[in-house]
């Protein structure tokens, strides 16, 4: 049974609209709070980035020093060759056996191929490489390469995201100052005029 008149429907619509309005206002308030949090996180990120850059510089200085010492040491005529070579000949089979055991137990696949590759590798290697800790230096350099790559990837995706967030937060809705023509962008150092969204940005 239809219960209400048109006037009552209208009154009900008004009451319901007021509720929706309040919910929209609450959502907007929540968004403003999240925006503040994003800005705070970004400030912390900037501070951390400075520390990270300093640490990177220190690490690279130490790496360069290591590389320099390695180069100088390699330039020396090899000494103690006989002693080293004798030890190396005894070291190789043990190293091969230990490595193959480890590989079969932990890494599982393709032990045969690795065995041949390893033998060739050990025959080409020099005990001098061990003596100067060449393996540790190689690990450090590989790590340095990976760390640079990870930072590049992070920075790249963050820059893209902040570009969009800058646009978003520059909107007059977020700045709360309808008459402003310029406002501060939380993520970049520049002050830009407001953006007018192109048609293509609209969902519909």
């Amino acid at each position: 049974d239809q219960l209400v008149s048109d006037n009552e429907l209208q009154e009900m619509s008004t009451q319901g609209s007021k509720y929706i309005d309040r919910e929209i206002q609450n959502a907007v308030k929540g968004v403003q709070e999240i925006k503040t949090l994003i800005e705070k996180t970004n400030e912390e990120r900037k501070t951390l980035l400075s520390v990270l850059e300093e640490a990177k510089k220190n690490k690279e200085d130490a790496l360069n020093e290591t590389r320099d010492s390695e180069t100088k040491l390699k330039a020396f005529p090899e000494v103690c060759n006989e002693t080293m070579m004798a030890l190396w000949e005894e070291c190789k089979p043990c190293l091969k056996q230990t490595c193959m055991k480890f590989y079969a137990r932990v890494c599982r696949s393709g032990s045969g191929l690795v065995g041949r590759q390893l033998e060739e590798f050990l025959n080409q290697s020099s005990p001098f490489y061990f003596w100067i800790n060449g393996d540790r230096i190689d690990s450090l350099l590989e790590n340095d390469r990976q760390q640079s790559h990870v930072l590049d990837v992070m920075q790249d995706s963050f820059n893209r995201a902040t570009g969009i967030m800058d646009e978003l937060f520059q909107d007059r809705f977020f700045t709360h100052k309808p008459q402003d023509t310029f406002y501060h962008s939380p993520f970049s150092y520049f002050r830009r005029p407001p953006l007018h969204y192109a048609k293509s940005r609209l969902v519909r």
Binding site: D1, Q2, L9, M12, S13, T14, Q15, G16, Y19, I20, I24, A27, V28, V31, I38, L48, L52, A55, K56, K59, E65, S69, L73, V79, W88, C91, C94, L95, K96, T98, C99, Y103, V106, C107, Q117, L118, F121, L122, F130, W131, R136, I137, D138, L140, N143, D144, H149, V150, L151, M154, S157, R160, A161, I164, L168, R172, F173, P178, R201, L202
Partner: protein
């Protein structure tokens, strides 16, 4: 006047909210696209100081066998190579080797420290990404509602019909069925039990709350 947000100037609801949904989505995508890729994982530096990262060692062995050299500690003769003292033959070479070992230890320590910072930085990124998720959750429905709006309407919620009938459940009771539209959405039917009468000031609040919940549920699906 039930239209809010007049303080934002002449923009209407549609102009104001419509672009946000897509922009938040774009920002999320930009953050997430690499977030879970292997390239985003900080390298495990434990193994450079002889730690037990088996996966990294396996990878190195497969790649060029250098991973095997990490096992030198388990072979006495290999260890002895490191202890060979050549100072009698060439003292300056020995001193240089000492310098190399010192700078190597320092570089390893600083690499570890850098990696810890890199991980903190990565956490900061993940925090930002989760804040964007929250922003989306908080705002998505408003933006989607705005997207449904064809033109200016005085009402955010419009009641089309209110009917009363007996429910078809196991214990039949009288219920009020209210059909509403949020902006230009499809009609949403809300069922209110008889106990909440239309005279109750909470009646329309309950209807609107349920309508909004229903709308958000549908949008999430």
């Amino acid at each position: 006047n039930i239209m809010p947000l007049s303080l934002y100037g002449p923009l209407n609801f549609q102009d104001m909210f419509q672009p946000f949904f897509e922009m938040i989505h774009q920002a999320q995508q930009a953050m997430d696209v690499h977030l879970h890729s292997p390239a985003y994982q900080t390298p495990n530096v434990e193994f450079i100081t002889g730690g037990p990262d088996d996966r990294a060692v396996c990878k190195e062995i497969r790649h060029n066998s250098t991973g095997c050299l990490r096992m030198k500690d388990q072979c006495a003769k290999c260890q002895e190579i490191l202890s060979v003292d050549c100072s009698a033959n060439n003292p300056s070479q020995n001193q240089l080797r000492q310098e190399l070992n010192d700078s190597l230890r320092l570089a390893e320590e600083l690499t570890k420290r850098y990696n810890e910072l890199l991980q903190s930085y990565q956490w900061k990124m993940l925090n930002t990404s989760s804040l964007l998720d929250q922003l989306n959750e908080q705002f998505n429905w408003v933006s989607q509602l705005a997207n449904l709006t064809q033109g200016p309407d005085q009402y955010y919620l419009r009641v089309s019909t209110v009917t009363s009938h007996t429910s078809e459940s196991e214990a039949p009771s009288r219920v009020t069925e209210v059909v509403v539209k949020l902006f230009d959405s499809d009609p949403i039917t809300i069922t209110i039990p008889e106990e909440v009468s239309r005279d109750n000031p909470k009646f329309m609040e309950t209807v609107a709350e349920k309508a909004l919940q229903e709308y958000r549920k549908k949008k999430r699906v």
